[in-house]
Symmetry: C2
């Protein structure tokens, strides 16, 4: 591939991007698309829509860019929460570090590469891209110190930026916890594996246990019910409730939605008029079908103070570690109810099974990846499919196939990954939606780094030599040889997968088509349900591009300007999407960042090791030796950050919790909050809206864009905790 082919590819992609952006600026002005492009506004307020037909509506305008650009971070923090800000910080961090890397790369490394050996340079557009990579520098050259310095500058700047980002995000997390209004999640503990006693209901067992051991701080509890049998009850419940005209009784917003909270207080009393008396059954037995309802061996236990709840979640309660297992309860909207019913004793098996499934999935994916890589190597294709030879003779076809098609095919295959990993995270048994996304995020990340990067590098450079992996000693040398030659592929990958996917993210074509279909054919006037941000799909993408960027920063710095454009576009697009499209139903409080930090450090160390081997291959041992202190420094830096910041993301400091408890106590509002606490977790909601509408909860949009809504969450207004 030469400069002109790269420019062709960049040109096509820029044009596509521009068309998409213009189209977006028009489409967003159409009132019918309001629910596609302004999901957040729709969810938060009932906005007035502009139904007048004005000519401006059909003229592309950059106003949204200006608005997105000008919104301050503080506003995003208030509107979209810590997670959204942390996500944008990934983009900002990448922009900063790659701006530095690009500067160093283009003004220091690129000239050294280009004039690396005495050769006759062609006309610039016909110059092969390999001339700009480290491969062009002759062996044993003294100029490798330029690469070495560049790597030092990039690595040290990255560590510096990472440290301050980690510090700032940790501070943001603490501030978020400190300033949030009383959150039911902080006062609650999820207890699983409650031991079964033949003469007692689970509910009674829980009550007795916590009254005996943590009586001074125990407040109340709420059982989790088995879903299968109770879902059938929903219709019945609704009838009964309507009969009781329960809908009209104003017991606070939550009570209308809660149908089956257990414990002696709350709506259950109103429904049952009898406290829990029948073994293993909730106080619901006077409703005809209620005999089917069974308690699960799990419960939410509420405590008087945050500190008491946090402590109960941390300590080993029982002498049998397989019973009375506690963990911090997720926020009410964050609970993934379906998984609470999984018996705790099966959880470890499920974790192992989902891990094995993920590994199998990763290796099955080798098939399309290997196929795609075949496309970049025309010679191989000529051999395999001789009948295609005529096609390849046309130059633009050949350029299109080598420069564009492989990435597009790979991209399409990659669309299946986030939903699959999300499914595996569900199978794993995550109890919260944020936990599920975090688990899926990590799985997708490993998947991408392995399948997009390593497999492409190894299979692309020496097709059918995957068994070189088996040689541990040869591996880094093999990689050092293969990576610089694969720069071309990753440049086109950034152009297609990066730029194009951002435009598609902005346009939301699937959702748009579905919206048109609903309005045009189904004749539905109501709005689409807004989804929450697909962190598990977008974070790994950003991190993968970061990984590619670091790896090639010194070896083939021509990739960096493309990356900068990607991150800049990403900054605009993601800001816009977070501000307008996605809602914030739940919040992990920035728990993404440790993963981001670790991945970035991994990228840095990987880059340094590969550079060490590349210098070795190029017979510049001094430059190689200079890498070793840098590697040690980076690893020590990571270890320090892990000690210094990571514990804050694993658990909330007691200092903070106790201060909040003291304030609450002084304010006197805590009593009221305690009363509401018992109704905060609603496993079942009454379907007060019409059934036709509820049926539209699962439109055929990719499931990574739309949450799988549990009954409790489906029709609720998203409230920020």
């Amino acid at each position: 591939m030469n400069i002109s082919a790269l420019l062709t590819s960049a040109g096509i992609n820029s044009a596509v991007c521009l068309v998409f952006l213009s189209l977006y600026s028009i489409l967003r002005k159409q009132p019918s698309n309001f629910s596609v492009y302004f999901g957040r506004n729709l969810a938060q307020v009932n906005p007035t829509r502009d139904h007048h037909v004005r000519y401006q509506r059909f003229v592309p305008s950059p106003s949204w860019i200006v608005k997105t650009w000008q919104t301050p971070e503080a506003e995003i923090l208030v509107t979209a929460g810590v997670d959204a800000v942390v996500f944008l910080r990934i983009v900002v961090f990448s922009l900063r570090i790659f701006a530095v890397a690009a500067f160093v790369g283009i003004f220091l490394v690129l000239p050294v590469n280009y004039y690396g050996q005495e050769m006759h340079h062609k006309q610039f557009p016909r110059e092969s891209l390999d001339v700009f990579s480290i491969g062009n520098v002759k062996e044993g050259s003294q100029w490798f110190w330029a690469h070495c310095i560049a790597l030092y500058i990039t690595s040290l700047t990255a560590c510096f930026l990472l440290y301050f980002e980690y510090k700032s995000i940790a501070g943001m997390r603490l501030k978020h916890i400190r300033t949030s209004s009383p959150n039911p999640g902080h006062f609650s503990v999820l207890v699983r594996a409650i031991p079964w006693k033949p003469d007692e209901s689970y509910s009674n067992t829980v009550k007795k246990f916590f009254t005996k051991y943590l009586g001074s701080s125990y407040l109340d509890h709420q059982m989790v019910y088995r879903l299968g049998t109770t879902q059938k009850l929903m219709a019945e419940t609704e009838k009964v409730c309507k009969m009781l005209r329960f809908d009209n009784v104003d017991h606070g917003k939550n009570m209308v939605q809660c149908a089956l909270p257990a414990g002696p207080s709350g709506t259950s009393k109103i429904l049952s008029r009898e406290p829990e008396s029948i073994k293993g059954k909730p106080p619901f037995h006077d409703v005809g079908t209620a005999s089917n309802v069974k308690e699960d061996a799990a419960a939410f236990v509420f405590f008087k103070t945050r500190y008491a709840a946090d402590v109960a979640a941390k300590v080993l309660l029982s002498t049998n570690p397989m019973s009375w297992v506690t963990s911090n309860a997720p926020e009410p909207h964050d609970v993934y109810w379906r998984n609470l019913s999984i018996p705790y004793r099966l959880l470890w098996l499920r974790k192992i099974a989902s891990l094995v499934a993920a590994i199998v999935f990763v290796f099955l994916f080798l098939i399309p990846v290997t196929f795609v890589q075949g496309l970049t190597q025309l010679d191989h294709l000529h051999h395999t499919f001789p009948f295609l030879r005529g096609l390849f003779k046309k130059k633009y076809m050949s350029q299109l196939i080598t420069g564009y098609l492989p990435s597009v095919i790979l991209l399409l295959f990659l669309y299946t990954v986030p939903p699959t990993m999300m499914l595996l995270a569900v199978i794993e048994g995550c109890i919260s939606r944020t936990g599920r996304k975090k688990s899926a995020c990590r799985k997708v990340l490993y998947f991408l780094i392995w399948n997009v990067f390593f497999v492409n590098v190894l299979s692309g450079s020496v097709i059918s030599q995957i068994d070189t992996l088996s040689s541990l000693k040869e591996m880094p040398t093999q990689l050092a040889r293969a990576i610089p030659s694969q720069a071309t592929f990753f440049m086109t990958y950034i152009l297609t997968s990066g730029w194009a996917s951002l435009s598609s993210e902005l346009m939301q074509p699937m959702l748009l088509i579905w919206n048109v279909f609903r309005r045009g054919i189904l004749r539905r006037k109501d709005d689409l349900c807004a989804a929450s941000f697909p962190y598990h799909a977008e974070v790994p993408k950003l991190l993968l591009f970061g990984f590619i960027g670091f790896t090639f920063s010194v070896l083939a710095p021509l990739i960096l300007p493309l990356l900068l454009v990607y991150f800049f576009l990403g900054y605009l697009v993601y800001r816009n999407q977070i501000l307008n499209v996605y809602t914030t139903k739940y919040e992990s409080g920035g728990q993404l960042w440790p993963t981001v930090h670790n991945t970035t450090v991994f990228s840095l160390v990987f880059t340094q090791i590969i550079s060490l081997y590349v210098f070795g291959l190029k017979k510049s041992k001094t430059a190689g030796a200079f890498m070793i202190p840098l590697i040690i420094f980076t690893l020590l830096f990571n270890e320090y950050c892990r000690k210094r910041f990571h514990p804050i993301f694993k658990s909330t400091p007691a200092e903070l919790l106790i201060e909040m408890d003291l304030e609450d106590e002084q304010s006197g509002k805590i009593e009221e909050f305690h009363q509401n606490l018992e109704m905060a977790y609603c496993q079942f909601t009454l379907k007060s809206q019409d059934p036709v509408k509820s049926a539209h909860l699962s439109p055929p949009v990719p499931s990574e864009y739309l949450e799988d809504p549990s009954p409790a969450l489906a029709q609720q207004n998203p409230t920020k905790n």
Copy 2:
């Protein structure tokens, strides 16, 4: 090596053993050796010694064996504590599992190996040992199912036994905690990295912090002082105390030994007559030199209940995870004071440094090991040292060199390992003596398994092919090829290192010589100080033999009878030593067992994987395939045990602590205990005994046998907590 050579070796070793045992039975009857062989009795009571010269004193008798054999486990538990019983359980477990393995091996596997291929068998004594290994079975034989079944029986029995041992030991640990008298360690928390405030002493900072945040359960605290400056003060202190006739005031046993406890109460008041008033200095300023004494950023904080202390040790206290770092306090006798002064921020660096040092040590050790292995291969020696050829011509010399010498040399080198690892554990910064031993134990274990097993197998089979390690894929095949051929070396290793080291453990030759020297030349009449059991040296030894036993159980079952003898002898010797020689100064409550369990499972899985590859090499794919479910089962079994039992060894269940707290509250004795609590941790002791005697604390016995006594522990009577 053939059967007769093995028998020669076994004969020599049995004779040596018998001589040692007889010698021991005589030596132990001599009153002058009382302090060598009855350290525990000496430490616990002041026994009446039999000074009459009777003829029985010079006749060997097996009475000690009978006595050792008959002592019930319950008595050992009471006398020597949980750790000692857990240690003996390792021996019992090994005896049981290798009895099963030996039965299966000898009656099922050995005949199959012996008649594995059609060959002319020599006279039995001249039969090569290789005929009894799996190497003798011809390729593709149907008889491999015998090995397969044997491995299934051994593995399943091992899992079965492991499960019940883990369960029983976990129960023992819980019972030990439950029934122990109030232990200061349970009520205390060690706080490190106390933030420095310019206008306040550390002591005040601690007091304010805990009063503010955990005021309801906070009782008092005691600062840790810098050792360097204070040690100089000891002489001064003593003078002052004598002046005050403090020695004669009966303030309880502990108070006599405590010179510098901080906090407003306790002896410090008596000494200083003024509560803490000077910044950064303990309440000791009226003693002339006390201005040198400085507080460290570490303190013991005492709580009213066990549960409160446990909670304070578990939670993340501060918003800065690098300050106010808490951990469960060790028992008073278990504290390793010297390491408490290490600044917390350096701890992670020290851990990394000691890890690196351990790895370097492991690899430096390759030099003697490679040399030793050369000795087993006479052909190589003939090449390297032609002048030795004459020596080797004598048959007994050749047998001695191949069968005996390598193991002896290796054994001597190995004696340096436990003290080195102990030193590294100190550098690592362990705060308790049990923690230090646990850390050293793990390091010695990795060391032994790597350096005794793997290096011997790989370097012994193909000298100078250590770089085969670099090939990941080839590794198991390489091992599968090498291990069966190395059975001979490990048989002699068991004979020398195993049998002989047990006799030496029983005899305590170093201590005996030192005792004779002291009494004969130094003319000292007082007794030697009894050491505590060197778990860090003995546990890895047992586990290494277990590892060897499992690995060869199917490949070369002739090794098993030798192992059985070793474990049986070990059972007698260790029981005797625990009952008579070593004292129990501190107790980890069986925290050894998880290491033992994990190592045993590792041994099992390793054996299964190696067998899989051996079956593969022998072209018996069916037998190989049958290994896979066994491997999966073993791994799942381990994961289950980790879930089920391991948490009990990491932390004490809250249920238990709260029950104990309630009982204490009801008994009313807790007030008194709280008062004593403040004096439980004594960093400095008054040297009330004569200085000549104290100088004898470090006799030239190997340091792994004798604890490095801190001033606080040196002359104390061991009291069991």
